[in-house]
Point group: C2
Chain length 178, copies 2
């Protein structure tokens, strides 16, 4: 697997209420790993919950991750200072990941929610994009993507929920949903 850097890294956004946002970002990471690109995933608001994918990142070449936040759901109407601080640290980690030259692909998972719930500001995310080196691909996931991010992004997919088993009371299943 040769490592030719990306000529031009774009900004991709996976948003919407349907299943597939984080999954799609992970799929791109898998593809990137197979083509010799180096990926780094930064999880916002997801904590150390045993997400399946994290157990196999070490088996893939050049796939690493960091996680900021708790596994407990953040209450958007009652955001704690600690949660804001964790998101801020995630943002700082994103800055370093982009600037450091160690990665071809950086995924900021659930960052859109962190913005929607005002844990971090959209201006900070737009600045991150502004400062992004040209040859790094950046993927931002999470529902409620800010309109200014959508305008700035090169690729946006709205994952629309047509049907979801959670609506029928079926709980998240290990290996499929986490």
């Amino acid at each position: 697997m040769k490592n030719e850097p990306l000529e031009k890294g774009l900004v991709e956004v996976f948003t919407g209420s349907g299943k597939g946002k984080t999954s799609a970002a992970l799929g791109v990471v898998l593809r990137a790993a197979g083509q010799g690109l180096r990926s780094h995933i930064i999880y916002f608001m997801k904590g150390e919950y045993p997400y399946g994918e994290r157990k196999v990142f070490p088996l893939l070449p050049n796939v690493t991750c960091q996680s900021f936040g708790h596994e407990d759901f953040v209450d958007p109407n009652n955001v704690k200072e600690e949660e804001r601080q964790q998101a801020k640290e995630g943002l700082e980690a994103a800055r370093q990941a982009l600037a450091g030259g160690d990665y071809d692909l950086v995924v900021l998972d659930e960052i859109n929610i962190a913005v929607a719930w005002k844990l971090i500001g959209i201006e900070e995310v737009l600045q991150l994009i502004e400062d992004k080196p040209q040859n790094v691909e950046l993927i931002l996931t999470g529902r409620h993507a800010d309109q200014r991010l959508i305008e700035r992004a090169d690729l946006v997919t709205d994952m629309v929920e047509v049907k979801h088993p959670f609506r029928k009371g079926i709980k998240a299943r290990r290996g499929i949903d986490y």
Copy 2:
């Protein structure tokens, strides 16, 4: 990584014109691998083109794939008998993968297009679902999902293209798009 089978496997459909359908299915495969589930991906109409993900499947536990078809795009207005035959073989492989008991997750990539372009019939796909063992998860991807499949599925996400760089003439990029 323990291997507890799925209690109840559902039918998931990733359709729509936006980026993320195959990627999302691959993301679920990655997650499944991390949780000890066994996945098999059947590619329709994709041939042996060097897709990034296929290079790293051997590094993951219990991830295998088969591919049926050519890397050349099928012309829906001029389907060749050979292309129909390949899709039929893919369908037969899907039947065996579901019935064999060797997999917890089976992905039928681009099968929706194979149906939309009449390489295979929707009735055959619905029969496949009808015969699916209860503890196997089935993911079907590709745009133009048939309405009868949408009605039958437990989960459907419509990946709506809001923006795509291909529209601006940017070509598919190695490691990101394939």
